[in-house]
Point group: C2
Chain length 231, copies 2
């Protein structure tokens, strides 16, 4: 299993830590929790396109790992006294929209979405976690741990795009669309949840940093496209 | 979490043990492994009928637990030198047929299927495991451990059938159909796999015992229908 490149983050010293009881923390955990459940159902759905039992099993294992992460977040929310289901439901529309707008039409598109989409989500969340006290950041990091199946995706996508230039440009476009939709939905979520904006901009200088943050996402997205043979 | 009633089994002294390298053991593990993956996808599908996020999460957690069981069986098969995917594929048609022929049309039917169907499968497999050496039987028992969600099902089904006699008779019929299809598919599997028949009949006196075995399944099925308020 390789470790995916993550967005470069500001050094520790530049970032003041937020308090663990910052209201954005509950929102972040609830957003992540809904994201895990949505990812579970998305993987289970997209596995329908798998060409064989091996692919179906890989997708099912990845989906099961998402539920393990969900349980970590649910437990953390309960320890913080949050009523989990209503808190999660606030993020249903943004995450469901992302998945609806990026429904793959082939097995290779499903694989690329798994790889790029999950890594992007991890970037978004880990970037935010860096501004948080360790006790909170550790929950986020554990919940986003690699599921151990990315090598399977890389090998299959690289093989397909090496043998077909058409597949390659098709999947490169697809990958850009995934980034675009993810950023759109992230902006919707931020626009509706000031507590989360506080988390993202807690580092140094507010909006300047928000724009640098989206630049970093673009940069690591390119690294991942290269890893898949798409750039 | 209640422990479900299991089929009463013959006492230890009556049953000679089969050797751990009996060829039926690999077949049993492969059958169970395919069953876990099929159950994963069935639960993920049927969760579509859940009336709310809570139901969808419960189904997803149960599905994730199935994959944990699958991984136990896969590891055991690999330790026994078996090529896992081809071994599993032999059981695809019987298990896929069972699920196709018992596709629920309502959320309550899905819940009853989860509860009754999983318990029936557990009976079938544990009954067989009893004739096996502990090292083998332990893998089967671990792979079929309760997933901890059955209380959720019992409470929801009981509430529905208490308030509606029509629901009650409808679900009682459904439950009988589940038993019928399960026994039909079990007979198909046994007819095609002599090594598995050896396992089931290893106890004492062959076919007499096979018929007693199906009688015991019927008996514990009735106990479960009672638990759900359906009898």
């Amino acid at each position: 299993m390789t470790s995916l490149p993550r967005a470069d983050r500001a050094t520790e010293s530049e970032k003041p830590r937020l308090p663990a009881d910052h209201p954005g923390v509950n929102e972040l955990f609830a957003l992540l929790a809904y994201g895990e459940v949505a990812a579970f159902y998305r993987l289970a759905d997209e596995a329908r396109m798998a060409p064989d039992l091996r692919g179906r099993i890989s997708m099912a294992s990845m989906a099961a790992a998402e539920m393990g992460h969900y349980e970590l977040l649910r437990d953390a929310l309960q320890r913080r006294g949050v009523d989990v289901l209503p808190a999660m439901s606030k993020y249903a529309s943004a995450l469901d929209d992302y998945h609806r707008l990026t429904t793959p039409s082939t097995w290779l598109e499903a694989l690329v979405k798994t790889y790029v989409g999950d890594a992007l989500a991890a970037d978004l969340y880990l970037e935010i976690a860096d501004a948080l006290p360790d006790e909170v950041a550790d929950v986020v990091r554990a919940a986003l741990a690699e599921t151990g199946h990315s090598q399977f995706v890389v090998a299959e996508v690289r093989a397909a795009v090496t043998s077909s230039a058409r597949q390659r440009s098709r999947l490169a476009l697809w990958s850009r669309r995934l980034l675009g939709e993810a950023i759109t939905q992230a902006q919707y979520v931020l626009a509706e949840h000031d507590e989360l904006v506080d988390l993202v901009t807690a580092g140094t200088n507010g909006l300047t940093q928000l724009s640098a943050f989206f630049d970093r996402l673009q940069h690591t997205h390119d690294q991942r496209m290269r890893e898949l043979g798409l750039l």
